[in-house]
């Protein structure tokens, strides 16, 4: 297999894996695949796709400025490729943004609903406009393939300079306002990154590293398609961008020095290490490898320098948009699926880029694959003696297979628990503690309800009163506690547990014990529970059970208490407030009592602890 096919196969596989997560995100929601939370609502996609994506796509406007305005003809052959690169870079950023925001059908809102105080308003307008400009700049290339739309193509080519100017204006605006956005984070962003010059630094770094990204892209494609590199032009372009890198590095370091933060660079903290790594990748290595003439002319050092600069810029944006922001709350680590979505968006963009390279006249001459010609010999798979078709035909079937299988794998590895979760965490409810007076605090947050059990028993004519509330006897139990069936604080739970009954390791009951042989096996046609569990329902129980799906602990308590309290409030004219929340939820443990409860909770006999009375005046009786 040739290099290009292996490379593209890997990209298709990543795209497939990530597309499954992407589809899940849009069908089910962000929670099904992402770990972002209220403390860190800006996750991996912002730090890894959007900010670096837009910065690295800066090559588009820089190159068009160099070629069309500074009239440097020697770079003219890279004009189309830099526009394509920029266009796809912006598309990845826009895709990642829509993935993160959701509701893609509302993406036009910033056009109509103006919020002119927000840098993001400006950014969204600019990105939309610039995407349009890039589209118009690039569209003549594919249109060359067909004789239709010739007028449009000629018109766009004729007025290209207008588009170039527009592109430069718009890019200057939003590259810097992406930096302005972070000006509201002086307390959150680490001081080595936070500066009032952020807008200028964002602009300068995009200008400097944009062309280096182009160098890297050309190096990569010439390598995978085994074409010759025009290393002389590339190293000239490298030298040009080194000036940009130098300016950026100087501005950044002088700014840090002037603000008196120079010592922080060497204070040994992990942030300072990150800073040093970032500066070496982004500024020092490119400066040395591209600045020194002897090094610049070797393609190896061009590779290292451009790779290091591109990774460095990505690292810088990731630091600002995520890593260096202080977090108040639970820490954020991206899930595997967030990583896959990130990589899939990038892989899809690279595939589109390669498609453009292969199919359109991006260079001065179109790259033709000699095996595509009708007179070339057919390409056989030697192991199976099968004709693979032309490379294009073979690629079509191989890549689609890889994509389909990896998409299926992607769907399979997303845990079902995440997909079907309705976003509510499982909180197991626990037994109320106390004796005659119960402390009902199912989730043990020390904020519960004191329930005078004995007073309620006495008030409701003693022994016959149990069944007013306790409506079920679990096997080997009498008047089972609420928590034994209402097992979750906030979610409905299955009180019957079908699979437990049918499991050989547990109840080990065959199907026909409950279901009839000639009927569908449904809950409605099955034997009733109390046919086996004779004393399941205590005689006289006021609450009837239909489905054996127990409402949440909280709901069960509320329904039970509030219904009765409301009724009593009407009957007993002297207690009009009986049904109010505060009748039951009247206390929070004071600190000393909280400690006491915690201590007693850890005691082996904590179930028998009678909490101190909170004073009879609160009881109402």
């Amino acid at each position: 297999m040739d290099r290009a096919r292996i490379f593209k196969s890997i990209l298709w596989a990543i795209t497939g894996l990530g597309s499954a997560a992407l589809a899940t995100r849009f069908l089910i929601g962000l929670g099904a695949i992402a770990n972002m939370n209220d403390a860190v609502p800006w996750g991996l996609w912002k730090g890894f796709n959007i900010f670096p994506g837009i910065a690295l796509a800066g090559g588009g406007f820089v190159m068009t400025a160099i070629i069309y305005i500074m009239a440097r003809e020697e770079y003219h052959k890279y004009a189309k490729i830099s526009v394509l690169l920029a266009f796809l870079g912006y598309l990845t950023a826009a895709t990642a943004l829509v993935t993160e925001l959701g509701l893609p059908w509302l993406v036009w809102h910033p056009i109509i609903f103006w919020q002119h105080h927000s840098p993001l308003f400006e950014v969204s307008w600019c990105v939309m406009l610039y995407l349009t400009v890039l589209f118009l700049e690039f569209i003549p290339v594919p249109l060359e393939e067909t004789s239709r739309f010739a007028k449009i193509r000629i018109f766009l080519t004729k007025y290209k300079i207008v588009l170039v100017f527009l592109g430069i204006m718009i890019s200057t605006l939003h590259q810097s306002s992406l930096g302005s956005m972070w000006l509201i984070t002086p307390e959150k962003l680490h001081p080595l990154w936070y500066t009032s010059l952020l807008p200028i630094l964002f602009f300068l770094s995009a200008v400097a590293i944009g062309p280096i990204m182009l160098i890297l892209a050309i190096l990569v494609i010439t390598r995978i398609y085994r074409r010759r590199t025009d290393s002389q032009t590339l190293s000239k372009l490298g030298l040009l961008s080194v000036f940009g890198v130098l300016v950026y590095g100087l501005v950044r370091l002088i700014d840090i020095g002037v603000k008196g933060k120079f010592a922080m660079i060497f204070d040994g903290s992990w942030q300072s290490t990150f800073f040093l790594v970032e500066i070496s990748l982004m500024v020092v290595i490119p400066l040395v490898l591209m600045g020194v003439r002897r090094l610049r002319n070797s393609s190896g050092s061009l590779w290292v320098a451009s790779l290091s600069a591109v990774i460095g810029l990505g690292f810088d944006r990731a630091n600002i948009a995520g890593i260096m922001l202080s977090v108040d709350g639970p820490m954020y680590t991206p899930t595997l699926f967030e990583v896959l979505v990130s990589l899939a968006i990038i892989s899809a963009a690279i595939l589109a880029f390669l498609f453009g390279i292969e199919r359109f006249k991006i260079w001065d001459t179109k790259w033709e694959d000699p095996r595509e010609k009708p007179e070339s010999h057919p390409d056989f798979d030697r192991s199976a003696e099968v004709w693979l078709g032309t490379p294009r035909l073979a690629g079509r079937s191989v890549y689609s297979l890889i994509f389909v299988v990896s998409l299926a794998v992607g769907f399979a590895i997303i845990p079902g628990k995440r997909i079907y979760s309705d976003g509510v965490q499982e909180v197991v409810s626990q037994k109320a503690y106390g004796g005659d007076t119960l402390c009902i605090d199912g989730n043990r947050d020390n904020y519960g309800v004191t329930f005078d059990h004995k007073a309620h028993v006495v008030r409701n004519s003693n022994d016959s009163s149990c069944v007013l509330c306790h409506h079920m006897n679990q096997p080997n139990d009498k008047q089972s506690g609420c928590y034994s069936c209402h097992r979750d604080m906030y979610q409905t739970t299955d009180a019957f547990r079908h699979d437990w009954h049918a499991d050989p390791a547990n109840a080990n009951i065959g199907c026909m014990e409950c279901h009839a042989i000639d009927q569908e096996r449904l809950a409605t046609t099955a034997k009733a529970c109390d046919q086996c569990h004779k004393d399941l329902i205590p005689p006289g129980a006021t609450i009837t059970i239909e489905k054996y799906m127990a409402p949440s602990y909280t709901d069960a308590m509320h329904f039970l208490c509030i219904d009765c309290h409301r009724q009593k409030a009407e009957e007993l004219t002297d207690k009009p407030d009986l049904a109010l929340c505060t009748t039951c939820h009247r206390w929070k443990h004071p600190n000393h009592l909280q400690d006491e409860v915690a201590e007693k909770y850890n005691h082996p006999y904590f179930n028998h602890v009678v909490l101190p009375q909170k004073g009879s005046k609160e009881k109402g009786h």
Binding site: R396, S400, A408, F411, G416, P504, A505, N508, M512
Partner: protein
């Protein structure tokens, strides 16, 4: 065992089911793409739309073959196809599973019908294997997979029938259910890449083949004339 069953019903089911559905989509798109490519390259672009459509519909309703040749084999084959398509899709127990997963279900077969169809499918599957072995013509044409496919296809039907109609112990039930699920999943994975793909792309492949045979239109008549077989079926 329960863990294994959970795995087979969860991630493994999602994997195989998506491979089947997406595999269908892939084969379908590739077929259309190939046809469009061929059409664009062709010099004479007249197409026998009418004949091709009529013959495709004829192939989709193969009742005629029952009365012409091999009546028993054709009958069992039709029975097998009806059972294979209807039972898995319309069985109440399956629709209930879809309902919990998707939130909506669809119409179901009554239990007696489902049981009868299941039994008929099993009988038809066995009869087809016997028919292939018995007839020397068919034996000559058959590959290994032609014998194995009916066998594999009836495994989920047999296990499913036993599970839903007999009083087996829970341990046996689990083993049978695992066989049921795993064999179905094997079928899912194999379908898009083997001859069983015809269950979805049959109309399309038949249509494309019929067009290709008459491409350009009426070329089949020319072939017949050349072979001195004008008016005969070849």
């Amino acid at each position: 065992m329960q863990g294994l069953l959970d795995f087979a019903e969860g991630p493994l089911f999602r994997l195989t089911f998506f491979i089947m559905v997406l595999g269908f989509a892939r084969v379908f798109i590739l077929a259309i793409w190939g046809a469009v490519d061929a059409y664009r390259k062709a010099g004479d672009k007249t197409i026998a739309w009418g004949t091709a459509t009529r013959k495709t519909i004829g192939w989709l309703v193969p009742i005629r073959s029952v009365f012409t040749h091999k009546p028993f084999y054709s009958m069992f084959s039709i029975l097998l196809h009806i059972g294979l398509i209807l039972v898995p899709i319309l069985l109440l127990a399956h629709v209930r599973l879809w309902e919990t997963a998707l939130g909506f279900g669809w119409l179901t077969l009554p239990k007696t019908w489902a049981d009868l169809l299941t039994l008929a499918t099993i009988v038809a599957g066995v009869a087809i294997i016997i028919g292939r072995i018995a007839s020397s013509n068919l034996r000559f044409l058959s590959r290994k997979q032609d014998y194995l496919w009916p066998l594999l296809l009836i495994i989920p039907f047999v296990t499913g029938y036993i599970c839903s109609n007999t009083a087996v112990t829970p341990a046996t039930y689990q083993i049978l259910m695992l066989m049921h699920v795993l064999s179905s999943e094997l079928i899912f994975v194999l379908i898009p890449f083997t001859k069983i793909a015809h269950c979805v792309i049959m109309p399309l492949s038949q249509f494309i083949m019929l067009i290709a045979w008459r491409f350009p239109a009426h070329v089949d008549d020319d072939v017949c004339t050349t072979l001195n077989k004008k008016g005969m079926q070849i």
